[in-house]
Symmetry: C2
Subunit: 513 residues, 2 copies
């Protein structure tokens, strides 16, 4: 038995049984250890952004901790962006990052790099295993760290000699420290405040699905306060029958209007609302001047307990729920306006939607409200390229549920390699690529900045044209069947068809220009 | 005029006129400034690894500094791996990384991240512009930092308000500090040592092309020492007529044999030789026990001056040069053995070869020795995914020369988005993807570790099969014409055909299994 064996054994003993991997030479003993432990499900991704995004999607849907296997500092770097998103989602991930053997680090080998530096920029917990005998304990503490605060990024650096050296016995992760809770007096005060005019309960993190979401709905019903979720929430229970939640807006002016009349916010699992970007002459925050904030339960505290305690304080009530509503069948060109209806009509029950449609997805929310019940995973960190990887992880975590990945063409290009993993693992994912031939969001942002007239250099930064991407060919290259649609009715039919077909399908939805 | 205008003006005034970019919202004012300065060539890449790798390839071939435009911490993270390679190559790059406006950073916006942390892990110089008035000076110092030590990674963080705020006038980069030089007495001692039996001159960095490479060849001829280059050099002048240089080996045992008889090494622009990875029971370094090292001119010092001074010390001599040799026409299956002959025979004069063929490329060196003169760019940092991006940058820097990108299929998948940039910019690149349907190198490494028998979990980490990638479809998806070949003679013909065709072509070379 070696250090790598004890690492895999410790992960399994600690309830971590899924590893998204892009291994290299320094991790060969870990790979050999995976071999000896077929209970560990290994999912190969052909790029590390696919690995870390899949871990995020897995953790969001399973509620558990996902493991990743990455190769030295550059491998971690490639996974950085989706770990950024995962850290903002508050999920638990243990990254195992191979490094050179200790003795090799005194020389300038090509792959020697600052793993601690790149990992530390996005991890809550980083440790280098000192030797093979410490690996089991280190791994156990990594899992505990990943479970702390409801879900964090923990990175264990595994030198090759710590993996290959002799070691004995696996360990088991200790319980993470208990989640922090607000004082009961603070809960009582918050409950009182929520009954006043202009009050809003702002909820995120684990407060937007399952029992906590029900509690949030009860609180809103009992107090008459508004119930508000961020525009980009990690996991939002939605559709008919779900507690009615209002979602913040992306565009600054629309978000200011959204918060009109809000005088006081109680924050549970959520940070103070902030606009996505700052713009000259526009406010960073959306609420009216003078509105107050009560950071009752910050992200990483006990959201479920806090919401339950608020229910106790405000008294019983039945949540207001989204009514079932089927939009009119959309026809004609595929536009941000018709996309929502097409998706809502074709959505199978209990779909997991991963939304990175950017401009095409900005208008999705109203259509989804009355759609069949579903979970919606959004881009919590704003680093684009999360959609296809998250869809991989969500599908691994939730077999039997369809995953619908909605992505812009620009976004999808960052991590398109995830298509291959969908094909290999026969994942039930429908990918819709909204082909608007460019970074449409940047045109919008340029206008937000007041620049509407621009020349060749800018234009060529916004357009993904000349040549256009051929998404059917890209899907074929990765082994994923596909079709192309150019009308809203064809899009609806294609989503319905793909939903009934096991395995992945890619739909290229050509947007009207 | 705003901060972004002064930034672009300063780059241009400092001789930096090419920017590889993947912009986001926080960089819109920079994009607007690029518009106003059409002298700046902007090259859009659809993923940041493509941006930074292109900057590396550009810098290697131009000898100048490339600029990149990246979007906040995750954008930098996506570019980390190829910056790692670039830092090991010793090239000059100025990264401009947009960030939120200063006032926005007090809130928890989704894209807020630790830019200093991720950038610091791979940059020699990092600075955050304090405000619009400082941007020009900051940019000028960034360029000087990127030129220091012969070429370094400099990262300038540009908050959105520093870009959009009013500013006046561009600056010009000061001269970088002079390169360090060894003491003349040390040069004289090294010259003496090189005349003794068992001496080797180990050269890397700028010492392997142009006038310094000629000098290195003269020194070897005058002293009788061996002239040795790393296996992965940033830019190696090769082919018929180039000074004869021996290249280190990748496989540990072969590298030990290569260094057999070496008693003393003079290092110029090179670190002490080290094997790529450490393995249990195998040495980290390749030279015989007791061999000594003279770190005469460390990487980042004045390699050209040192080699010229050594020539003065050892006296005039004509370098031994590679003889022209045309291998027999290869036939039959495409194997690591036949690849070299096919490439060497089809190579146009003055090709820039970017080699990341990994296993298929391990045997390329002997065939290239007598091939038409060329430059060879290798993976200096070992972070895979450099080939296609470097080819983009090399082609931008060296119009009129053909670029031949040799890559494994596993490697190419990391940054395949670069194909699109080749098509858009009509770059004269021939991409050969050696399709061995897997990470063949990992099978080799597993064997190096003594593991030859492995099961499903390991196997599925090594094979990129089920499904196989279809590289013709992937090329088509990115707008690049392609063909597929399955014999060595067809490969030779395809490379010759592509070389005669303007713009990019991808050749999928199916390896014999």
């Amino acid at each position: 038995m070696n250090g790598a064996d004890t690492l895999v054994g410790t992960l399994l003993a600690s309830g971590v049984d899924t590893c998204f991997a892009n291994p290299g030479t320094s991790e060969m003993h870990f790979v050999a250890a995976l071999d000896a432990n077929p209970d560990m499900r290994c999912v190969l991704c052909l790029f590390e952004g696919g690995v870390t995004g899949a871990a995020d999607g897995y953790a969001r849907m399973s509620g558990g901790v996902a493991a990743t296997l990455l190769h030295l500092a550059p491998g971690f770097g490639n996974g950085h962006a989706n770990l950024h998103n995962a850290s903002k989602a508050g999920v638990g991930i243990v990254n195992v990052v191979g490094d050179h053997a200790q003795r090799h680090l005194r020389y300038e080998a090509p792959l020697k790099g600052d793993i601690e530096g790149v990992a530390g920029s996005v991890s809550s917990w980083v440790r280098r295993a000192a030797g093979p005998e410490s690996v089991a304990r280190d791994a156990a503490e990594a899992v505990a760290a990943a479970r702390s605060g409801g879900g964090r990024i923990a990175t264990l650096i595994l030198p090759a000699d710590a993996a290959w050296g002799a070691a004995e016995g696996a360990a088991k992760a200790p319980a993470p420290p208990p989640l922090l809770r607000p004082d009961p007096a603070q809960v009582a005060a918050a409950a009182d405040a929520l009954r006043r005019p202009g009050a809003a309960l702002v909820v995120s993190g684990p407060g937007l699905h399952g029992a906590p979401a029900e509690d949030a709905g009860r609180i809103a019903a009992a107090t008459g306060c508004r119930l508000i979720a961020p525009f980009f929430a990690p996991r939002l229970r939605g559709g008919a029958g779900a507690p009615a939640v209002e979602r913040m807006q992306y565009v600054v002016e629309e978000n200011s209007a959204f918060f009109d009349g809000v005088a006081h916010m109680v924050l549970v699992g959520a940070d103070r609302p902030v606009n996505f970007f700052a713009y000259p002459g526009k406010p960073s925050t959306p609420e009216p001047p003078g509105a107050t904030h009560d950071p009752l339960c910050p992200p990483g505290w006990d959201v479920a307990w806090t919401l339950a305690a608020l229910v106790d304080a405000v008294g019983p009530a039945e949540p207001r729920r989204n009514a079932s509503a089927r939009p009119e069948a959309p026809t004609g060109p595929i536009t941000p306006q018709t996309v929502g209806a097409a998706v809502a009509r074709a959505l199978p029950d209990e779909t997991v939607i991963v939304n990175e449609a950017v401009t095409a997805g900005l208008t999705l929310a109203p259509a989804l409200r009355g759609a069949p019940p579903h979970d919606l995973l959004s881009n919590t960190g704003g680093a684009i390229g999360m959609c296809l990887p998250l869809a991989v992880g969500a599908a691994v975590a939730a077999p039997g549920r369809r995953v619908l990945a909605l992505t812009g063409d620009g976004s999808a290009m960052y991590t398109l390699q995830s298509l291959w993993t969908m094909a290999r693992e026969r994942l039930d994912v429908t990918v819709v690529v909204f082909a608007n031939r460019g970074y449409r969001i940047l045109r919008l942002e340029m206008a937000n900045l007041g620049v509407t007239d621009y020349g060749r250099n800018a234009q060529r930064m916004f357009d993904v044209e000349d040549p256009s991407l051929d998404w059917q060919a890209l899907a074929c290259g990765h082994g994923v069947p596909s079709e192309r649609v150019e009308t809203a009715e064809a899009l609806e039919a294609a989503i319905a068809r793909a939903s009934a077909t096991p395995g992945p399908t890619l739909i290229e939805a050509v947007m009207a220009s």
